[in-house]
Amino acid sequence: MSLTRKDVDEIMALLENSRFDRLYLEMDGVKLELARGGAGAAQRPPSAHPDPPAAPPQPAAPAPASPGASAVPREGLVEVKSPLLGVFYRAPKPGEPAFVEVGDRVQADSVIGIIEVMKLMNTARAGVAGEVVEIIGANGEMVEHGEVLMLVRPD
């Protein structure tokens, strides 16, 4: 028995709604390591208050990666950041193909996603010409202003 994409999605949702920042799972020879906000981002700035809130509410908000730090910046790559706080969508409509996939080429004015703010759809553009190397923003999830959505290797 191996993990399907759906299983992984469900495990990710469990992590999102939990109090934990990392999850390490090994079953049937499959190793799965998940961290909130992307690899290497589980570090949060130290909290100034001595006691954690008594009752952690459910469902928990996705715990943060500090914006802009969600991906380990890689040599020569450009971070495409969200121009707004809102819900990030990778495709124009549910079920339609994503605006861009890893490996696609983008121009500075290429639409790479939609940021929804109170039912108003705002386009997010690449801002740089090059090749999409990694997509970091998750479809349908909240992104902050300035949060990294994807990495592009510029021309």
Partner: protein, 451 residues
């Protein structure tokens, strides 16, 4: 309604820190909205989580109703605390929150609208039998004579099209009224294209006295005493205190009752402040406006009552109503607050943003400092210049003043210019020490000894 579990704080600076502290005390999670300029702020480090809602310019961050609402929904917050300023008295945010099923920690959109419009608020005051500044429009000299008799001298002839001090004439003797009115009307026609004028009682020596109220939203209202905020420079409050020194007890009682009546008539829900102008010459008071939010100067009230006003705001928003009656509120001693601003008194109070290289806040019994400024803190140029409030609570006014003087002497802020020395100067004035100064006090002091 279940207790609130996670609150979105749509504000910054010291009030964000203040609200987070109460959230921590109550075991409520806090999600703080920050602009790019405030990512490294103390509030951002203290909150359960900070989310960047936009660029430094407030229009696209702290003033964006949709963004704040989206943040509340997207991060699973069951309530929004707007603090003061920014979106705190925006009926559209309160209404949107109501529609989205998120609790707005403050009055209803309708209540915000009722007090937000000056003319409407004046009508509400009249309906609640709260005195307003006597006056009204006049169309003829005959009209003016009649109304002038009613109002009494001195009075002001004001142009309907004027404002901000323009188009105003003082009448000290009613015998001059007809001539002054003709002149004012002609001048108003020339200057504003509108010759209409109205008369208003002139308050020569006024004091700004306000009453803190809490309402449950169902007609029950309590007051938590008054605050005297007469030390002002160009309508900006600098020193606030409670109780108001030297107010005749019967007048004070009538002011407190008037404020409660005004709020009760609106079925006011949450914390609010009824601002009154006290006419020292006539021993009378008039309604100015109501502020439908927590106020900057709320700590002096908290010090003498022992009530955490933010906690009460949260309780009322959560549907718990008022957790005490008027009889439970006892005022102990006196408290005075100084606002510390990042501004340069020697250069016409120009804002002085920058990095605070070092800061040392006072400590001690009866001393409280509400601030977000720690060593290394950035004071961005985009926002209000108020960076801290130093509050002293004493057994009486003299004790509080002594403590506050000592506290300011113990305060040091490096790297930016502040009004700290100016505030020490105010506290050193003999007139201030006597108590009960009017709103002209600071202008007279500045005239006497230019900063």
């Amino acid at each position: 309604m279940p207790a609130l579990r996670r609150i979105l704080i749509a504000n910054r600076g010291e009030i964000a820190v203040r609200i987070i502290r109460t959230c921590q005390k109550l075991g409520i999670e806090s999600v703080l909205c920050v602009s790019e300029a405030d990512r490294g702020s103390l509030g951002a480090r203290m909150a359960t989580r900070a989310v960047c809602i936009g660029p430094s310019a407030p229009a696209r961050s702290y003033l964006s109703v949709e963004t704040v609402m989206q943040a509340a929904l997207g991060y699973g917050c069951d309530a929004i605390h707007p603090g003061y300023g920014f979106l705190s008295e925006r009926a559209d945010l309160a209404r949107m929150a109501e529609e989205e099923g998120v609790t707005f920690i403050g009055p209803t959109a309708r209540q915000i609208e009722a007090v937000g419009d000056k003319l409407r608020a004046r009508q509400e005051a009249i309906a609640a039998e709260v005195p307003v500044v006597p006056g009204g429009p006049v169309e003829s000299v005959e009209d003016a004579r009649r109304l002038g008799q009613e109002i009494g001298a001195p009075l002001l002839v004001k142009a309907v099209g004027g404002g901000g001090g323009r188009g105003m004439k003082l009448v000290e003797d009613l015998a001059d009224l007809a001539a002054t009115m003709d002149m004012a009307s002609a001048e108003a026609g020339a200057a504003f294209g509108d010759a209409r004028v109205y008369l208003e009682r002139y308050v020569e020596r006024g004091r700004h006295i306000e009453v803190q109220v809490l309402g449950d939203g169902a007609g029950n209202v309590v007051h938590l005493g008054e605050r005297d905020c007469s030390v002002q420079r160009r309508y900006q409050k600098l020193v606030e205190e409670t109780p108001a020194p030297g107010l005749p007890p019967a007048t004070r009682e009538r002011m407190l009752e008037a404020a409660v009546r005004f709020a009760a008539r609106l079925d006011y829900g949450g914390a609010g402040t009824v601002e009154l102008l006290y006419d020292t010459t006539r021993d009378a008071f008039y309604f100015l406006e109501m502020n439908a939010r927590i106020q900057v100067e709320h700590p002096v009230t908290e010090e003498v009552t022992g009530v955490d006003l933010v906690a009460e705001q949260i309780a009322i928003a959560a549907g718990e109503g008022l957790r005490f009656t008027q009889g439970h509120i006892a005022l102990k001693g006196a408290a005075i607050e100084c606002r510390i601003n990042a501004e340069d008194p020697s250069n016409d109070f120009m804002p002085s943003p920058g990095a605070v290289t070092d800061v040392s806040w006072p400590r001690g019994e009866g001393i409280r400092v509400d601030t977000h400024v720690v060593p290394g803190a950035a004071i961005p140029p985009f926002y209000d210049s108020m960076i801290a409030k130093v509050i002293a609570h004493g057994t009486d006014r003299a004790d509080a003043l002594r403590k506050l003087r000592a506290a300011l002497a113990d305060t040091a802020i490096e790297g930016i210019k502040t009004n700290l020395a100016f505030q020490r100067d105010i506290l050193a004035q003999e007139e201030f020490a006597r108590g009960g100064v009017d709103t002209g006090f600071l202008a007279r002091m500045l005239h006497k000894e230019p900063a």
